[in-house]
């Protein structure tokens, strides 16, 4: 009897039945399996919510790790604002989203597709890490995901959302991506969970203590944005993607130019306190220069003495870096340097112009900062600026001293255009410190040293620190009035991008 004569085979080959089989399989696959724990949405619902309505397509919906359980991940593509995006969404309903060999293969397939075709990839993470049952095959699969995360860095934007407890490999992959968003009191990232921590070191700590968003968006800097809900995480992701090209070398997403906030623009000439020791809110200054529209600040609660945000000017998507005098006086320290360097490096990688607004008292010195390796971290910021080839525009709005002057996008690091406001100071150190060194002997012998120091500092400020010396030497291009900043930046950006925004 040949195979074709077998009654079961003949029956299964009937066309009508095959349609029914597929329908049944699809129904089974897409049946809502309630996610475990406090989760409201399934992995598939999350992917669908992230992208434009009705645009999500799962790549290999039949893929299974056995026993009809699915692969543990929903991977596919869709669009945000009409632009293609690849999405990987861990399925916590299958073995807590643990990454086994089949799941790893499905994730890698999506990564490979995104890299080869040049689409951003969003990872919706909700996984306990490598699947122990799969042993070394799980580890090998996780390693493969990491390798593709790294390959993707030079090619496409990668965004990670943390929507559940993510341990081990599920925490490491986000660390290899560009931006990580955590949902408050829902998402955690840690090497291992509380039980293993207790067994390993004896430390009693909750999942929130060792890996919550409070820790990672304020102290460690492992994550870059904290949001209150999954919906907000998806909104933030779409907003972030709206500023980015789909891939390195891809078209920049240019919008129509929108004027700056008129009130903020009118306030610019008087916004910055004349006395350089008095703090102010740098956001108000940015309001007066940038397009009045959507912005996204990253790491707002980590190293807040420096602001890093995506915004638009003249419709160009730009990365903005600015000292924030309102937080710790706007100083640069280890954490601020790492935050700034990471941001500049990202902008350079995806050809986003970098606008730098400078009002910096310097690098914070002392035993604590030296112990944290401020030299190494500060050096990263220098390197990031030099390596960045996209348009770099810098304006000193009040003061810029010493090594911090160099680090904040100076001409020496390759700024394509740089200006200083008329009331600003650029010097090797602040007037007080400079005269204390330069006039040490005179001050020691003076009857009223503080009076003499103030007098000498005033002279130093006017004769040495004012930006005209720098402008005459060609170290800044021009000295400008505050209200001229926006037009100068727009003009330079049009010139540097051949008017195209590319």
């Amino acid at each position: 009897m040949s195979k074709l004569d077998h009654p079961a085979v003949v029956e299964a080959a009937a066309p009508a039945d095959q349609r029914e089989v597929l329908t049944q399989r699809r129904t089974a696959r897409f049946a809502r399996v309630d996610p475990k724990g406090k989760r409201v949405y399934t992995a598939r619902e999350r992917a669908e919510m992230l992208v434009d309505e009705g645009s999500f397509v799962e790549m290999t919906p039949m893929r299974s790790a056995g026993a009809g359980a699915g692969s543990g991940v929903v991977a596919g593509w869709g669009t945000t604002d009409g632009h293609s995006v690849v999405v990987v969404s861990h399925d916590a309903a299958v073995a807590s989203g643990a990454i086994g060999a089949v799941m790893a293969e499905s994730i890698q397939k999506a990564q490979r597709f995104a890299i080869d075709k040049g689409y951003p990839i969003v990872y919706i993470n909700d996984s306990g890490g490598a699947r122990i049952h799969d042993g070394i095959f799980a580890l090998h699969g996780c390693g493969g995901i990491f390798a593709l995360n790294i390959e993707a860095q030079s090619r496409i934007p990668q965004i990670s959302l943390i929507l559940g407890p993510c341990a081990g490999a599920a925490a490491y992959s986000p660390a290899l991506t560009d931006w990580t968003v955590m949902v408050k009191e829902q998402g955690q990232m840690f090497l291992t969970g509380p039980d293993i921590v207790k067994a390993a070191t004896g430390e009693d700590a909750s999942a929130e203590d060792i890996g919550g968003s409070a820790l990672h968006t304020r102290v460690s800097g492992v994550a870059h944005l904290e949001v209150d809900s999954e919906e907000e995480a998806f909104d933030a992701t779409r907003l972030l993607l709206s500023f980015l090209p789909t891939h390195k070398g891809g078209k920049q997403k240019r919008h129509d130019s929108v004027p700056a906030n008129p009130h903020a623009a009118a306030a610019l000439p008087t916004l910055v306190p004349e006395k350089s020791s008095i703090v102010f809110d740098m956001n108000k200054l940015l309001d007066g220069v940038l397009d009045n529209g959507a912005r996204l600040e990253l790491m707002p609660t980590h190293a807040p003495s420096i602001l890093t945000l995506f915004a638009r000017i003249d419709g160009h998507a730009v990365g903005v870096l600015a000292n924030q005098p309102n937080a710790r006086g706007g100083i640069l320290d280890s954490k601020a340097s790492v935050k700034a360097a990471r941001f500049v490096e990202f902008c350079g990688r995806f050809d986003l112009p970098v606008l730098t607004f400078v009002d910096v008292p310097g690098f914070l010195p002392g035993t604590v900062e030296e112990g944290r390796g401020v030299i190494t971290h500060g050096a990263k910021l220098l390197k990031a600026y030099v390596d960045t080839k996209s348009p770099k525009l810098t304006v000193v709005v009040r003061k810029s001293y010493g090594g911090a002057y160099i680090a904040m996008g100076s001409a020496s690091l390759g700024a394509h255009a740089n200006w200083a406001w008329s009331g600003s100071e650029i010097a090797v150190m602040g007037p007080g410190g400079a005269v204390a060194l330069l006039h040490r002997r005179a001050l020691k012998e003076a009857e009223e040293p503080t009076v003499l120091r103030d007098e000498l500092a005033a002279v130093y400020r006017e004769e040495v620190a004012r930006p005209y010396l720098a402008a005459e030497a060609g170290i800044v291009d021009d000295v400008i009035h505050p209200e001229e900043t926006r037009d100068r930046m727009i003009g330079a950006l049009r010139m540097l991008t051949h008017g195209s925004g590319e």
Binding site: R328, I331, L364
Partner: protein, 75 residues
């Protein structure tokens, strides 16, 4: 009860709030001087200033407590 802490190594330049004062969230409690900047120490939440833990001119490290505030006494 919570502690308002120095966010940067600095010297205590001005003590604005006094023991017994009622303060609101966002009020300036003290001004710390560091890197020639006058850095305001702001109340994270409102309450009653129960104890001032530093003296004028004292050098404080990042994280050092400056004031003790009893938020349960908030008006």
């Amino acid at each position: 009860m919570f502690l308002a802490r120095a966010e940067i190594v600095s010297n205590v330049w001005k003590i604005v709030a006094r023991e017994g004062d009622q303060v609101g969230a966002g009020d300036v409690l003290a001004v710390l001087e560091s890197m020639k900047m006058e850095i305001p120490l702001v109340a994270q939440q409102g309450g009653h200033v129960s104890k001032i833990l530093v003296e004028l001119g004292q050098i404080v490290q990042e994280g050092d407590p400056i004031m003790e505030i009893d938020e349960t006494a908030s008006a």
